[in-house]
C-alpha cells in the first residue's frame, strides 16, 4: 500500500484582482511507497510546490483526493508522521536553533529529555553546534536551511517532504544533506523531495516524476529506466521539448 496517495488531483487558483483562473495542477496521480525516495522534478512554475502544499494541507485540492497513511491531510495527526522543509524556510528569527527544535519537539509532544538528545545529535550532524544559541536572524542562508532540516527531523518522522533541500547550500552543506538523505533511506524513511539538481535526484532517488505545466509528464524508475548511459537530465530535457516548452 502506498504511504502517499495522490489521486487525480487538480488545483486551480483564482487571481486576486483579475479573478482569472490559473490551473496549477491537472489530474495528478502519484503513489509513493513506504521507504521510497521519490524525486519531484520540473521547471519553475510546474506545480511542485503546489503539490507539496497540498500534501501539508496549506491548500486544498480543487478536485481529486490525497491520502497520507490512509488519512486525509486535514487531520492534524497525519503531520506527526511528516517532517517538512519549505523551499525558503522562514522562522521566527529571534529564536535560536535550540529553541526552534524545542518548539518542533514540543509540538509533537516529545519529552524534554528526548528533545535534548535529538537536538544535540541533529545540531552535530548539521554542523550547527557552535551557532545553536545564536538567533536565527544572524544565520547565513545555508545555516537557516540546515536549521530547517533539523526541525523537519526532530520528531523522527516516517515521511520527509523536502522542497528544494539543497537550495542555498554550499558544496559542504550539500554533501551533508546528501549523506543525510542516504541515511534516512537506509533507515527506511520515505523521502519526497523536489529539486532542480538533476544529478542529486538521479543519485538519491528510487523513482522520479517529471512535472511540466501542472501535468505529470513521466514517471521514471531510476535504476530500471536509465540504462545505456541515459541520464535523468536527457530525459528531463526531452520531456520539456516534447511538452512544447513552458506555459506562460
Amino acid at each position: 500500500m502506498a504511504i502517499i496517495e495522490i489521486r487525480s488531483v487538480s488545483k486551480t487558483f483564482k487571481k486576486e484582482f483579475s479573478g482569472r483562473k490559473v490551473e496549477a495542477l491537472r489530474a495528478l496521480d502519484l503513489f509513493i511507497s513506504e521507504g521510497e525516495v521519490f524525486g519531484f522534478l520540473g521547471p519553475n512554475g510546474a506545480g511542485k510546490s503546489t503539490t507539496i502544499k497540498l500534501l501539508l494541507n496549506f491548500i486544498r485540492p480543487s478536485s481529486g483526493s490525497i491520502m497520507i497513511e490512509g488519512k486525509d491531510p486535514s487531520d492534524k495527526n497525519v503531520r506527526r508522521s511528516i517532517g517538512y522543509l519549505p523551499e525558503n524556510p522562514y522562522f521566527y528569527d529571534h529564536l535560536s536553533a535550540e529553541e526552534l527544535l524545542r518548539f518542533g519537539g514540543g509540538s509533537c509532544n516529545l519529552d524534554d529529555a528526548v528533545i535534548r538528545e535529538r537536538s544535540s545529535t541533529l545540531l552535530q550532524d548539521l554542523d550547527l553546534v557552535d551557532a545553536r544559541k545564536r538567533p536565527l536572524r544572524s544565520y547565513s542562508k545555508g545555516m537557516v536551511q540546515r536549521a530547517g532540516i533539523a526541525l523537519a527531523l526532530i520528531h523522527d518522522p516516517k515521511i520527509l517532504i523536502l522542497d528544494e533541500p539543497m537550495s542555498g547550500l554550499d558544496p559542504m552543506g550539500r554533501k551533508k544533506v546528501f549523506d543525510l538523505i542516504l541515511r534516512l533511506k537506509a533507515n527506511g524513511k520515505t523521502v519526497f523531495f523536489s529539486s532542480h539538481i538533476l544529478n542529486d535526484i538521479e543519485r538519491l532517488c528510487d523513482r522520479a516524476a517529471i512535472l511540466i505545466n501542472g501535468s505529470l509528464r513521466r514517471l521514471i524508475n531510476v535504476n530500471a529506466d536509465l540504462k545505456n548511459g541515459a541520464t535523468l537530465e536527457d530525459e528531463f530535457f526531452e520531456e520539456v521539448k516534447k511538452s512544447g516548452g513552458l506555459r506562460e
Binding site: 502544499k53 496549506f58 492534524k76 511528516i82 517538512y84 525558503n88 521566527y92 509540538s107
Partner: protein, 254 residues
C-alpha cells in the same frame, strides 16, 4: 522585552504616571479623583496601543512572512494556532496590566497623601476592579484582532478594522442613550433608529468595561453587575475566537 514597541509603550506609560503627580498639583480639590482618572486613562490607552501593535502583527505577520508554514506544518490545528496566539496575547495583557496597574496606583496614593484626609471616599477595591475591567476590555479587543486577522491578509487592514470597531464599541452606548431619550423637536428616522439598534447588538459594547467614574467617585459595584459583564465578555470573546478559528480552518495559504 524583545519587542521595542512594547518597551516604548511601557516607557510612555511610566512617564505619563510620573506626570500625573505634577499635573494633579494644579488642581485645588478632588486631587485623588483627578489622579485616579488620569492613571486609569493612561493604563487603558497604553494597553490599547500595546494590543493593537503587538496583536495585529501576531497572525498577519505570520502570513505575510510565511512563518505560519513553520507552525501549521506541525501537528497543530488551525484552531489551536488561533487559540494559542490569543492566549499568548492575553497573558501579555494580564502581565502588562498587572505591572502598569500597580504602578498606576502610586501617583494616586502620592496625590492622595499630599493633603489632609484626601483619600476619604476613595475605594481602592473599586479602583482595582476598574483595572481588571481594563484588562478584560483589552482581551476582548485582542479577540477582535484574532478575528480580523483571520479574514484579512495584511496587518494594516486588521488594524484599521479593529480601531474602527473599538471606536464604534466605545461610543455606541452614548448613541443608543441619545436615541432612547426622547427629546422634544428631535426626530430620529426609523432607518437611523434601526441602524443604531443593529450596531448596538453587533458591535461590542466596550463602555461596559469602563468603570472610571465608579472608581473615581468610589461608587460600590454590585456583584451581579460584574457577573453580567463577565458573561458578556465570555460570550463576545468566545464568538470572535470561534469565528476566527473557523475562518482559519477554511483558509488556504498558497
Amino acid at each position: 522585552m524583545r519587542s521595542r514597541v512594547l518597551f516604548g509603550i511601557f516607557i510612555m506609560a511610566l512617564l505619563a504616571f510620573s506626570f500625573t503627580v505634577t499635573l494633579t498639583n494644579l488642581f485645588m480639590r478632588d486631587i485623588t479623583r483627578v489622579a485616579a482618572s488620569l492613571s486609569l486613562t493612561t493604563l487603558s490607552f497604553s494597553g490599547l496601543l500595546m494590543v493593537l501593535f503587538i496583536g495585529t502583527n501576531l497572525i498577519s505577520k505570520d502570513i505575510d512572512k510565511r512563518t505560519i508554514y513553520m507552525v501549521i506544518s506541525r501537528p497543530i490545528s488551525r484552531t489551536e494556532y488561533v487559540v494559542g496566539k490569543f492566549i499568548g496575547l492575553c497573558l501579555l495583557i494580564i502581565l502588562a496590566v498587572l505591572f502598569l496597574g500597580c504602578i498606576s496606583s502610586i501617583p494616586v496614593y502620592i496625590s492622595g497623601m499630599t493633603y489632609d484626609n484626601p483619600l476619604a471616599g476613595f475605594k481602592w477595591g473599586v479602583y482595582f476592579a476598574a483595572i481588571i475591567m481594563i484588562a478584560m476590555k483589552l482581551m476582548l479587543v485582542a479577540s477582535l484582532i484574532m478575528f480580523f486577522s483571520a479574514i484579512t491578509s495584511t496587518s494594516f487592514i486588521s488594524l484599521i478594522l479593529t480601531v474602527a470597531t473599538y471606536i464604534v464599541g466605545s461610543t455606541i452606548e452614548v448613541a443608543k442613550g441619545l436615541m432612547d431619550v426622547k427629546m422634544e423637536g428631535v426626530e430620529i428616522s426609523p432607518f437611523m433608529g434601526a441602524l443604531i439598534q443593529a450596531v448596538y447588538f453587533v458591535f461590542p459594547n466596550l463602555s461596559l468595561f469602563d468603570l472610571k467614574i465608579q472608581a473615581v467617585h468610589g461608587i460600590a459595584l454590585s456583584a451581579g453587575y460584574l457577573f453580567w459583564i463577565c458573561i458578556y465578555w465570555l460570550f463576545y470573546t468566545g464568538i470572535m475566537i470561534t469565528g476566527g478559528a473557523l475562518i482559519m480552518e477554511r483558509r488556504e495559504f498558497p
